[in-house]
Amino acid sequence: MSLLITIMAGILFAAGVYCLLRRNMTKLIIGIILLSQAANLLVFTMGGIRAHQPVFADSETGTVAAGHADPVPQALVLTAIVIGFGLMVFTITLLMRAHAVLKSDDVNEFNHTDALP
């Protein structure tokens, strides 16, 4: 399972980078989304994936069974997803407005602010 998700994260990274390198603005958004999901998956696998081993303490002994799943990466990923959600919404809004103003979805048209005089 871990191996599968790791490979998937790698594929997502590759796809994300490929989309980012395109000149189309929509692909830019898709690329960013893919990359952030890839990062989330990467963090998620870092705790080791163990099914059926939640961190619940035994009610009698008060200890946690050995080999339990690590909850921290899951908490981290949750936070990262929430933050990513906000970022994505803002990115999409901004790109929509930029598209409306610049009248182009070709990233190469975005070359006014660092032009030499």
């Binding site: 949750l78 929430v82 906000g86 919404v89 803002f90 999409i92 809004t93 929509m96 409306a100």
Partner: protein
């Protein structure tokens, strides 16, 4: 968009979804759920209504003012973190009220984490509504 089916369905679905979001909000401390997910469910309920009857009605609503929701949500979340500071001199420490037993709900455990979650719920609802409004294509 104008659809009788959607409008009629929304009339029943809207209160149910809001109720669901509140349930999810409440059970969030120990079970899957919480302020963020609850807020998103509530936001999707509002958006469903907006799709069915249009944004104008949502904009006219007194409760669903995104900025105000976010502001009060932030205040509530902030206050909940300060209660711990006031009671135990520790920032963000959970302070619980004694557990009550109510007839239908059962054990009712209230404390600062749920207050924090309510704040999060409001912020998420406000934020999602704000974004949806600004993305609304008729709103330019």
């Amino acid at each position: 968009m104008d659809s009788v089916i959607l409008r009629t369905a929304t009339r029943f679905l809207y209160p149910l979804l809001i109720l669901l979001s509140l349930v999810v909000l409440y059970r969030g401390h120990n079970l899957p759920g919480g302020g963020f997910i609850g807020g998103l469910i509530a936001a999707s309920a509002v958006m469903l209504r907006a799709l069915a009857v249009g944004w104008d009605e949502i904009k006219a609503s007194r409760i669903l003012k995104p900025i105000a929701l976010m502001q009060y949500g932030l205040i509530i979340a902030c206050v909940s973190s300060l209660i711990g500071l006031a009671v135990n001199n520790v920032l963000f420490q959970a302070v619980w009220l004694p557990t009550w037993y109510l007839p239908v709900i059962g054990k009712l455990k209230l404390g600062t984490p749920i207050v924090f979650d309510i704040g999060v719920y409001m912020v998420v609802l406000g934020f999602a509504l704000l974004c949806a409004k600004s993305l609304d294509s008729n709103n330019n």
